[in-house]
Protein backbone atom coordinates (compact mmCIF):
# COMPACT_ATOMS: atom_id res chain seq x y z
CA UNK A 1 0.00 0.00 0.00
CA UNK A 2 1.96 3.00 -1.20
CA UNK A 3 0.90 6.58 -1.71
CA UNK A 4 -1.52 7.12 1.15
CA UNK A 5 -2.86 10.56 0.26
CA UNK A 6 -3.20 12.66 3.41
CA UNK A 7 -3.79 15.72 1.30
CA UNK A 8 -7.35 14.74 0.35
CA UNK A 9 -8.27 14.53 4.04
CA UNK A 10 -6.72 17.91 4.77
CA UNK A 11 -8.48 19.52 1.80
CA UNK A 12 -11.89 18.22 2.84
CA UNK A 13 -11.57 18.70 6.62
CA UNK A 14 -13.73 21.84 6.58
CA UNK A 15 -16.49 20.18 4.61
CA UNK A 16 -16.36 16.98 6.64
CA UNK A 17 -16.73 18.68 9.99
CA UNK A 18 -18.81 21.75 9.14
CA UNK A 19 -21.35 19.82 7.06
CA UNK A 20 -21.00 16.21 8.08
CA UNK A 21 -20.13 16.22 11.78
CA UNK A 22 -22.63 19.01 12.47
CA UNK A 23 -25.37 16.85 10.95
CA UNK A 24 -24.25 13.81 12.94
CA UNK A 25 -23.98 15.63 16.27
CA UNK A 26 -27.25 17.55 15.84
CA UNK A 27 -29.06 14.36 14.90
CA UNK A 28 -27.56 12.55 17.90
CA UNK A 29 -28.59 15.30 20.34
CA UNK A 30 -32.13 15.59 18.98
CA UNK A 31 -32.66 11.83 18.97
CA UNK A 32 -31.19 11.54 22.47
CA UNK A 33 -33.44 14.22 23.95
CA UNK A 34 -36.54 13.08 22.10
CA UNK A 35 -35.73 9.43 22.69
CA UNK A 36 -35.28 9.84 26.44
CA UNK A 37 -38.48 11.89 26.85
CA UNK A 38 -40.49 9.51 24.70
CA UNK A 39 -38.77 6.46 26.16
CA UNK A 40 -39.59 7.55 29.72
CA UNK A 41 -43.26 8.00 28.78
CA UNK A 42 -43.22 4.57 27.13
CA UNK A 43 -41.65 3.06 30.24
CA UNK A 44 -44.36 4.60 32.42
CA UNK A 45 -46.98 3.21 30.04
CA UNK A 46 -45.36 -0.23 30.12
CA UNK A 47 -45.43 -0.24 33.91
CA UNK A 48 -49.00 1.01 34.03
CA UNK A 49 -51.56 -1.20 35.75
CA UNK A 50 -54.02 -0.36 32.95
CA UNK A 51 -53.52 -3.41 30.70
CA UNK A 52 -54.30 -1.95 27.23
CA UNK A 53 -51.80 0.86 27.83
CA UNK A 54 -48.99 -1.44 28.94
CA UNK A 55 -49.69 -3.85 26.09
CA UNK A 56 -49.63 -1.05 23.54
CA UNK A 57 -46.30 0.26 24.79
CA UNK A 58 -44.93 -3.27 25.01
CA UNK A 59 -45.94 -4.05 21.44
CA UNK A 60 -44.31 -0.86 20.16
CA UNK A 61 -41.05 -1.52 22.00
CA UNK A 62 -40.89 -5.17 20.93
CA UNK A 63 -41.63 -4.28 17.31
CA UNK A 64 -38.89 -1.64 17.19
CA UNK A 65 -36.41 -3.97 18.81
CA UNK A 66 -37.11 -6.86 16.46
CA UNK A 67 -36.48 -5.23 13.11
CA UNK A 68 -33.18 -3.89 11.77
CA UNK A 69 -32.48 -0.18 12.09
CA UNK A 70 -31.84 0.03 8.34
CA UNK A 71 -35.36 -1.21 7.67
CA UNK A 72 -36.76 1.25 10.23
CA UNK A 73 -34.91 4.08 8.45
CA UNK A 74 -36.48 3.04 5.13
CA UNK A 75 -39.91 2.71 6.74
CA UNK A 76 -39.92 6.22 8.17
CA UNK A 77 -38.27 7.72 5.10
CA UNK A 78 -41.28 6.68 3.05
CA UNK A 79 -43.94 6.81 5.76
CA UNK A 80 -43.32 10.30 7.18
CA UNK A 81 -44.39 12.13 3.97
CA UNK A 82 -47.72 10.25 4.07
CA UNK A 83 -48.25 10.93 7.77
CA UNK A 84 -47.37 14.57 7.21
CA UNK A 85 -49.94 14.81 4.41
CA UNK A 86 -52.51 13.16 6.64
CA UNK A 87 -51.87 15.59 9.53
CA UNK A 88 -51.81 18.66 7.27
CA UNK A 89 -54.78 17.35 5.26
CA UNK A 90 -52.89 17.56 1.98
CA UNK A 91 -53.89 15.37 -0.94
CA UNK A 92 -50.37 14.25 -1.81
CA UNK A 93 -47.42 13.10 0.31
CA UNK A 94 -45.48 16.14 1.52
CA UNK A 95 -41.73 16.59 0.97
CA UNK A 96 -39.62 15.83 4.02
CA UNK A 97 -35.86 16.38 3.96
CA UNK A 98 -33.37 13.69 4.91
CA UNK A 99 -32.54 15.45 8.16
CA UNK A 100 -36.10 15.67 9.49
CA UNK A 101 -36.81 12.15 8.34
CA UNK A 102 -33.70 10.90 10.16
CA UNK A 103 -34.52 12.93 13.29
CA UNK A 104 -38.00 11.40 13.50
CA UNK A 105 -36.68 7.90 12.76
CA UNK A 106 -33.96 7.94 15.38
CA UNK A 107 -36.18 9.53 18.02
CA UNK A 108 -38.85 6.87 17.52
CA UNK A 109 -36.34 4.02 17.27
CA UNK A 110 -34.17 5.01 20.21
CA UNK A 111 -37.25 5.63 22.37
CA UNK A 112 -37.75 1.85 22.42
CA UNK A 113 -34.21 1.29 23.74
CA UNK A 114 -34.28 4.19 26.20
CA UNK A 115 -37.65 2.86 27.37
CA UNK A 116 -36.14 -0.46 28.43
CA UNK A 117 -33.37 1.36 30.30
CA UNK A 118 -35.79 3.69 32.08
CA UNK A 119 -38.07 0.78 32.90
CA UNK A 120 -35.19 -1.00 34.63
CA UNK A 121 -34.40 2.28 36.39
CA UNK A 122 -37.95 2.78 37.63
CA UNK A 123 -38.20 -0.84 38.74
CA UNK A 124 -34.96 -0.50 40.73
CA UNK A 125 -36.60 2.10 43.01
CA UNK A 126 -37.90 0.70 46.28
CA UNK A 127 -41.70 0.32 46.49
CA UNK A 128 -41.76 2.31 49.72
CA UNK A 129 -40.72 5.42 47.82
CA UNK A 130 -43.94 5.31 45.80
CA UNK A 131 -46.06 4.54 48.84
CA UNK A 132 -44.58 7.40 50.82
CA UNK A 133 -45.34 9.67 47.90
CA UNK A 134 -48.98 8.64 47.93
CA UNK A 135 -49.05 8.82 51.72
CA UNK A 136 -47.99 12.47 51.45
CA UNK A 137 -51.02 13.04 49.25
CA UNK A 138 -49.12 13.41 45.97
CA UNK A 139 -50.87 12.20 42.84
CA UNK A 140 -49.35 9.83 40.25
CA UNK A 141 -47.62 12.53 38.19
CA UNK A 142 -46.23 14.26 41.27
CA UNK A 143 -44.94 10.99 42.72
CA UNK A 144 -43.31 10.12 39.41
CA UNK A 145 -41.97 13.60 38.73
CA UNK A 146 -40.62 14.44 42.19
CA UNK A 147 -39.71 11.07 43.67
CA UNK A 148 -39.36 8.13 41.28
CA UNK A 149 -38.04 9.57 38.02
CA UNK A 150 -35.26 11.75 39.49
CA UNK A 151 -33.83 8.71 41.28
CA UNK A 152 -34.36 6.35 38.35
CA UNK A 153 -32.80 8.81 35.96
CA UNK A 154 -29.79 9.37 38.18
CA UNK A 155 -29.16 5.63 38.61
CA UNK A 156 -29.43 5.06 34.90
CA UNK A 157 -27.30 7.97 33.65
CA UNK A 158 -24.32 5.74 32.75
CA UNK A 159 -26.47 3.30 30.77
CA UNK A 160 -28.36 6.14 29.09
CA UNK A 161 -25.06 7.69 28.04
CA UNK A 162 -23.71 4.36 26.79
CA UNK A 163 -26.85 4.05 24.70
CA UNK A 164 -26.18 7.55 23.38
CA UNK A 165 -22.68 6.52 22.26
CA UNK A 166 -24.28 3.66 20.35
CA UNK A 167 -26.83 6.10 18.92
CA UNK A 168 -23.98 8.40 17.84
CA UNK A 169 -22.42 5.50 15.94
CA UNK A 170 -25.74 4.28 14.53
CA UNK A 171 -26.59 7.66 13.01
CA UNK A 172 -23.99 6.78 10.34
CA UNK A 173 -26.66 4.45 8.89
CA UNK A 174 -28.45 7.47 7.41
CA UNK A 175 -26.00 6.76 4.59
CA UNK A 176 -28.75 4.48 3.16
CA UNK A 177 -31.01 7.50 2.53
CA UNK A 178 -28.05 9.48 1.10
CA UNK A 179 -27.99 12.02 3.92
CA UNK A 180 -24.81 14.05 4.36
CA UNK A 181 -23.78 13.03 7.83
CA UNK A 182 -20.08 12.61 8.70
CA UNK A 183 -19.85 9.28 6.85
CA UNK A 184 -22.03 10.54 4.01
CA UNK A 185 -19.83 13.61 3.53
CA UNK A 186 -16.69 11.46 3.56
CA UNK A 187 -18.27 9.03 1.08
CA UNK A 188 -19.06 11.88 -1.28
CA UNK A 189 -15.45 13.12 -1.22
CA UNK A 190 -14.17 9.53 -1.46
CA UNK A 191 -16.18 8.79 -4.59
CA UNK A 192 -15.48 12.17 -6.22
CA UNK A 193 -11.69 11.98 -5.79
CA UNK A 194 -11.51 8.18 -5.83
CA UNK A 195 -9.84 8.18 -2.42
CA UNK A 196 -11.88 5.50 -0.64
CA UNK A 197 -9.04 4.03 1.40
CA UNK A 198 -7.96 7.36 2.85
CA UNK A 199 -11.43 8.70 3.57
CA UNK A 200 -12.88 5.58 5.16
CA UNK A 201 -9.78 5.03 7.30
CA UNK A 202 -10.03 8.63 8.47
CA UNK A 203 -13.73 8.26 9.26
CA UNK A 204 -13.00 5.14 11.31
CA UNK A 205 -10.28 6.95 13.28
CA UNK A 206 -12.51 9.96 14.02
CA UNK A 207 -15.44 7.80 15.16
CA UNK A 208 -13.09 5.73 17.30
CA UNK A 209 -11.53 8.75 19.02
CA UNK A 210 -14.90 10.35 19.81
CA UNK A 211 -16.68 7.16 20.95
CA UNK A 212 -13.72 5.96 22.99
CA UNK A 213 -13.27 9.27 24.81
CA UNK A 214 -16.97 9.41 25.55
CA UNK A 215 -16.90 5.86 26.91
CA UNK A 216 -14.02 6.83 29.23
CA UNK A 217 -16.11 9.72 30.56
CA UNK A 218 -19.03 7.36 31.14
CA UNK A 219 -16.77 4.92 32.97
CA UNK A 220 -15.54 7.66 35.34
CA UNK A 221 -19.10 8.80 35.94
CA UNK A 222 -20.14 5.23 36.68
CA UNK A 223 -17.40 4.86 39.28
CA UNK A 224 -18.45 8.07 40.99
CA UNK A 225 -22.10 7.08 41.12
CA UNK A 226 -21.18 3.61 42.35
CA UNK A 227 -19.29 5.04 45.33
CA UNK A 228 -22.11 7.30 46.47
CA UNK A 229 -24.60 4.45 46.36
Amino acid sequence: MEGFDFDVIERSLGYLFREGMTFTVTLTLIAMTGGIVFGTLLAMMRLSSFRPLSMLAGAYVDLMRSIPLVLVIFWFFFLVPYIGAWILREANPIKVGAFYSAAITFTMFEAAYYCEIMRAGIQSIARGQVWSGYALGLNYWQTMGYIVLPQAFRNMVPVLLTQTIILFQDTSLVYVISATDFLGAAAKVANRDYRLVEMYSFVAVVYFVISYSMSLVVKRLQDRIAIIR
Binding site: L79, Y82, V159, S172, Y200, A204, F208, S211
Partner: protein
Protein backbone atom coordinates in the same frame (compact mmCIF):
# COMPACT_ATOMS: atom_id res chain seq x y z
CA UNK B 1 -53.85 8.12 4.02
CA UNK B 2 -53.94 8.12 0.23
CA UNK B 3 -52.12 4.96 -0.54
CA UNK B 4 -53.38 2.20 -2.77
CA UNK B 5 -52.57 -1.09 -1.15
CA UNK B 6 -52.03 -3.97 -3.51
CA UNK B 7 -51.01 -7.12 -1.68
CA UNK B 8 -51.19 -9.17 -4.87
CA UNK B 9 -47.89 -7.60 -5.87
CA UNK B 10 -46.21 -10.23 -3.68
CA UNK B 11 -47.31 -12.95 -6.08
CA UNK B 12 -46.30 -11.10 -9.23
CA UNK B 13 -43.05 -11.98 -11.00
CA UNK B 14 -40.02 -9.87 -10.09
CA UNK B 15 -38.08 -8.24 -13.00
CA UNK B 16 -35.19 -10.69 -12.68
CA UNK B 17 -37.63 -13.47 -13.58
CA UNK B 18 -36.53 -15.79 -10.77
CA UNK B 19 -40.05 -16.08 -9.37
CA UNK B 20 -42.58 -14.06 -7.43
CA UNK B 21 -41.64 -11.09 -5.24
CA UNK B 22 -42.44 -13.19 -2.20
CA UNK B 23 -39.99 -15.81 -3.37
CA UNK B 24 -37.46 -13.03 -4.03
CA UNK B 25 -37.80 -11.87 -0.40
CA UNK B 26 -37.57 -15.40 0.99
CA UNK B 27 -34.30 -15.92 -0.91
CA UNK B 28 -33.21 -12.67 0.76
CA UNK B 29 -34.02 -14.21 4.14
CA UNK B 30 -31.81 -17.12 3.10
CA UNK B 31 -28.90 -14.75 2.54
CA UNK B 32 -29.63 -12.97 5.81
CA UNK B 33 -29.50 -16.26 7.69
CA UNK B 34 -26.46 -17.52 5.77
CA UNK B 35 -24.60 -14.31 6.64
CA UNK B 36 -25.72 -14.30 10.25
CA UNK B 37 -24.92 -17.97 10.85
CA UNK B 38 -21.42 -17.85 9.36
CA UNK B 39 -20.70 -14.63 11.25
CA UNK B 40 -22.09 -16.15 14.46
CA UNK B 41 -19.54 -19.00 14.23
CA UNK B 42 -16.69 -16.48 13.91
CA UNK B 43 -18.15 -14.33 16.70
CA UNK B 44 -18.48 -17.25 19.11
CA UNK B 45 -14.98 -18.60 18.46
CA UNK B 46 -13.17 -15.26 18.69
CA UNK B 47 -15.48 -13.92 21.39
CA UNK B 48 -15.02 -16.94 23.64
CA UNK B 49 -11.24 -16.75 23.19
CA UNK B 50 -10.91 -12.99 23.75
CA UNK B 51 -13.39 -12.97 26.62
CA UNK B 52 -11.55 -15.79 28.36
CA UNK B 53 -8.03 -14.37 28.07
CA UNK B 54 -9.28 -11.10 29.53
CA UNK B 55 -10.01 -12.92 32.80
CA UNK B 56 -6.62 -14.64 33.07
CA UNK B 57 -3.65 -13.44 35.09
CA UNK B 58 -1.51 -12.84 31.98
CA UNK B 59 -1.31 -9.07 31.87
CA UNK B 60 -0.27 -8.75 28.21
CA UNK B 61 -3.16 -10.98 27.15
CA UNK B 62 -5.64 -8.86 29.12
CA UNK B 63 -4.25 -5.70 27.48
CA UNK B 64 -4.40 -7.19 23.99
CA UNK B 65 -7.97 -8.34 24.64
CA UNK B 66 -9.02 -4.92 25.90
CA UNK B 67 -7.45 -3.21 22.88
CA UNK B 68 -9.29 -5.56 20.51
CA UNK B 69 -12.61 -4.91 22.23
CA UNK B 70 -12.22 -1.12 22.31
CA UNK B 71 -11.25 -0.90 18.63
CA UNK B 72 -14.17 -2.87 17.26
CA UNK B 73 -16.69 -1.47 19.72
CA UNK B 74 -16.04 2.17 18.98
CA UNK B 75 -16.29 2.18 15.19
CA UNK B 76 -19.79 2.15 13.62
CA UNK B 77 -20.76 -1.12 11.95
CA UNK B 78 -21.30 0.47 8.53
CA UNK B 79 -17.83 2.04 8.65
CA UNK B 80 -16.37 -1.35 9.55
CA UNK B 81 -18.25 -2.80 6.55
CA UNK B 82 -16.59 -0.22 4.30
CA UNK B 83 -13.20 -0.94 5.86
CA UNK B 84 -13.52 -4.66 5.08
CA UNK B 85 -14.94 -4.07 1.62
CA UNK B 86 -12.98 -1.10 0.26
CA UNK B 87 -9.91 -0.69 2.46
CA UNK B 88 -8.77 -4.13 3.64
CA UNK B 89 -8.05 -5.62 0.15
CA UNK B 90 -5.73 -2.65 -0.57
CA UNK B 91 -3.47 -3.54 2.33
CA UNK B 92 -2.98 -7.15 1.18
CA UNK B 93 -0.37 -8.29 -1.34
CA UNK B 94 -1.58 -7.12 -4.77
CA UNK B 95 -2.39 -10.58 -6.15
CA UNK B 96 -4.48 -11.58 -3.12
CA UNK B 97 -6.18 -8.18 -2.97
CA UNK B 98 -7.14 -8.40 -6.65
CA UNK B 99 -8.42 -11.94 -6.19
CA UNK B 100 -10.69 -10.74 -3.38
CA UNK B 101 -11.92 -7.76 -5.37
CA UNK B 102 -12.71 -9.96 -8.38
CA UNK B 103 -14.78 -12.53 -6.52
CA UNK B 104 -18.04 -13.00 -8.42
CA UNK B 105 -21.21 -11.59 -6.83
CA UNK B 106 -22.63 -12.24 -4.32
CA UNK B 107 -19.46 -13.71 -2.80
CA UNK B 108 -17.57 -10.44 -3.26
CA UNK B 109 -19.95 -8.84 -0.72
CA UNK B 110 -20.79 -11.95 1.28
CA UNK B 111 -17.25 -12.72 2.47
CA UNK B 112 -16.43 -9.19 3.73
CA UNK B 113 -19.89 -8.95 5.30
CA UNK B 114 -19.38 -12.19 7.24
CA UNK B 115 -15.90 -11.17 8.39
CA UNK B 116 -17.12 -7.75 9.46
CA UNK B 117 -20.23 -8.95 11.29
CA UNK B 118 -18.35 -11.83 12.90
CA UNK B 119 -15.67 -9.60 14.34
CA UNK B 120 -18.11 -6.83 15.28
CA UNK B 121 -20.22 -9.33 17.22
CA UNK B 122 -17.22 -11.16 18.69
CA UNK B 123 -16.53 -8.08 20.80
CA UNK B 124 -19.99 -8.24 22.32
CA UNK B 125 -19.68 -11.99 22.87
CA UNK B 126 -16.30 -11.39 24.53
CA UNK B 127 -17.91 -8.93 26.96
CA UNK B 128 -20.62 -11.47 27.84
CA UNK B 129 -18.09 -14.28 28.29
CA UNK B 130 -15.94 -12.13 30.56
CA UNK B 131 -18.97 -11.09 32.61
CA UNK B 132 -20.08 -14.72 32.84
CA UNK B 133 -16.68 -15.89 34.06
CA UNK B 134 -16.42 -13.05 36.57
CA UNK B 135 -19.87 -13.85 37.94
CA UNK B 136 -18.70 -17.26 39.18
CA UNK B 137 -17.78 -17.49 42.86
CA UNK B 138 -14.01 -17.26 43.38
CA UNK B 139 -14.17 -20.53 45.29
CA UNK B 140 -14.67 -22.41 42.01
CA UNK B 141 -11.26 -21.34 40.80
CA UNK B 142 -9.62 -21.95 44.19
CA UNK B 143 -11.12 -25.42 44.26
CA UNK B 144 -9.60 -26.13 40.86
CA UNK B 145 -6.20 -24.93 42.01
CA UNK B 146 -6.48 -26.88 45.26
CA UNK B 147 -7.09 -30.05 43.28
CA UNK B 148 -3.80 -29.49 41.49
CA UNK B 149 -5.26 -28.39 38.15
CA UNK B 150 -3.25 -25.99 36.00
CA UNK B 151 -4.81 -22.66 35.01
CA UNK B 152 -5.70 -24.15 31.60
CA UNK B 153 -7.32 -27.19 33.19
CA UNK B 154 -9.25 -25.04 35.68
CA UNK B 155 -10.70 -23.07 32.79
CA UNK B 156 -11.37 -26.15 30.69
CA UNK B 157 -13.09 -28.28 33.34
CA UNK B 158 -14.40 -25.88 35.99
CA UNK B 159 -14.84 -22.28 34.85
CA UNK B 160 -15.84 -22.34 31.19
CA UNK B 161 -18.51 -25.10 31.32
CA UNK B 162 -20.37 -23.07 33.96
CA UNK B 163 -19.76 -19.66 32.40
CA UNK B 164 -21.07 -20.64 28.98
CA UNK B 165 -24.28 -21.95 30.44
CA UNK B 166 -24.81 -18.79 32.47
CA UNK B 167 -24.39 -16.49 29.48
CA UNK B 168 -26.85 -18.26 27.19
CA UNK B 169 -29.71 -15.76 27.78
CA UNK B 170 -27.62 -12.71 26.80
CA UNK B 171 -26.30 -14.68 23.84
CA UNK B 172 -29.90 -15.13 22.68
CA UNK B 173 -30.26 -11.41 22.24
CA UNK B 174 -26.87 -11.28 20.50
CA UNK B 175 -28.00 -13.90 18.00
CA UNK B 176 -31.04 -11.77 17.21
CA UNK B 177 -28.80 -8.71 16.93
CA UNK B 178 -26.55 -10.43 14.43
CA UNK B 179 -29.57 -11.21 12.22
CA UNK B 180 -30.71 -7.60 12.41
CA UNK B 181 -27.22 -6.20 11.90
CA UNK B 182 -26.67 -8.30 8.78
CA UNK B 183 -28.97 -5.81 7.03
CA UNK B 184 -26.10 -3.31 7.05
CA UNK B 185 -24.44 -5.55 4.43
CA UNK B 186 -26.82 -4.08 1.86
CA UNK B 187 -24.52 -1.03 1.80
CA UNK B 188 -21.77 -3.16 0.24
CA UNK B 189 -24.17 -4.72 -2.22
CA UNK B 190 -25.35 -7.91 -0.52
CA UNK B 191 -28.99 -8.53 -1.46
CA UNK B 192 -30.23 -9.87 1.85
CA UNK B 193 -33.76 -9.41 3.15
CA UNK B 194 -33.75 -5.64 3.75
CA UNK B 195 -31.78 -5.07 0.54
CA UNK B 196 -34.33 -7.07 -1.44
CA UNK B 197 -37.27 -5.27 0.18
CA UNK B 198 -35.64 -2.01 -0.90
CA UNK B 199 -35.05 -3.39 -4.41
CA UNK B 200 -38.65 -4.58 -4.59
CA UNK B 201 -39.81 -1.10 -3.62
CA UNK B 202 -37.72 0.37 -6.44
CA UNK B 203 -38.97 -2.11 -9.06
CA UNK B 204 -42.64 -2.14 -8.12
CA UNK B 205 -43.16 1.25 -6.36
CA UNK B 206 -45.09 -0.71 -3.74
CA UNK B 207 -43.23 0.75 -0.76
CA UNK B 208 -45.32 -0.37 2.15
CA UNK B 209 -46.16 -3.84 0.89
CA UNK B 210 -42.45 -4.53 0.45
CA UNK B 211 -41.47 -3.22 3.89
CA UNK B 212 -44.43 -4.81 5.65
CA UNK B 213 -43.54 -8.18 4.14
CA UNK B 214 -39.90 -7.79 5.24
CA UNK B 215 -40.99 -6.71 8.74
CA UNK B 216 -43.25 -9.73 9.12
CA UNK B 217 -40.48 -12.06 7.95
CA UNK B 218 -38.07 -10.54 10.49
CA UNK B 219 -40.64 -10.90 13.28
CA UNK B 220 -41.23 -14.57 12.45
CA UNK B 221 -37.49 -15.22 12.27
CA UNK B 222 -37.00 -13.62 15.69
CA UNK B 223 -39.75 -15.77 17.12
CA UNK B 224 -38.08 -18.94 15.84
CA UNK B 225 -34.70 -17.88 17.23
CA UNK B 226 -36.19 -17.11 20.64
CA UNK B 227 -37.95 -20.48 20.80
CA UNK B 228 -34.83 -22.39 19.72
CA UNK B 229 -32.62 -20.61 22.22
CA UNK B 230 -35.15 -21.09 25.00
CA UNK B 231 -35.16 -24.83 24.32
CA UNK B 232 -31.35 -24.81 24.39
CA UNK B 233 -31.29 -22.83 27.64
CA UNK B 234 -33.68 -25.28 29.22
CA UNK B 235 -31.52 -28.20 28.15
CA UNK B 236 -28.18 -26.93 29.47
CA UNK B 237 -29.44 -25.07 32.55
CA UNK B 238 -27.19 -25.37 35.59
CA UNK B 239 -29.29 -27.14 38.25
CA UNK B 240 -29.75 -25.11 41.39
CA UNK B 241 -29.10 -21.71 39.84
CA UNK B 242 -31.86 -19.13 39.57
CA UNK B 243 -32.33 -18.25 35.88
CA UNK B 244 -29.96 -15.38 35.19
CA UNK B 245 -31.93 -12.19 34.61
CA UNK B 246 -30.13 -9.65 32.45
CA UNK B 247 -29.29 -6.26 33.89
CA UNK B 248 -30.24 -3.13 31.97
CA UNK B 249 -27.95 -2.80 29.02
CA UNK B 250 -27.46 -0.47 26.12
CA UNK B 251 -27.95 -2.05 22.72
CA UNK B 252 -28.88 -1.66 19.09
Amino acid sequence: MNYNWNWRILLETEPGGTGSYLHYLIVGLGWTLATALAAWVIALLIGAFVGTIRTTTMRWAVRAGNLYVEIFRNIPLIVQMFLWFFVFPEFLPTALGDWIKQMPPPWGSYVPAVMCLGIFTSVRVAEQVRAGINSLPRGQRFAGTAMGLTQFQTYRYVVLPQAFRIILPPLTSESMNIIKNSSVALTIGLLELTGRARAMQEFSFKVFEAFTAATVIYLLTNLVVVLLMRALEHKVRVPGLIAAGGAAQAGH
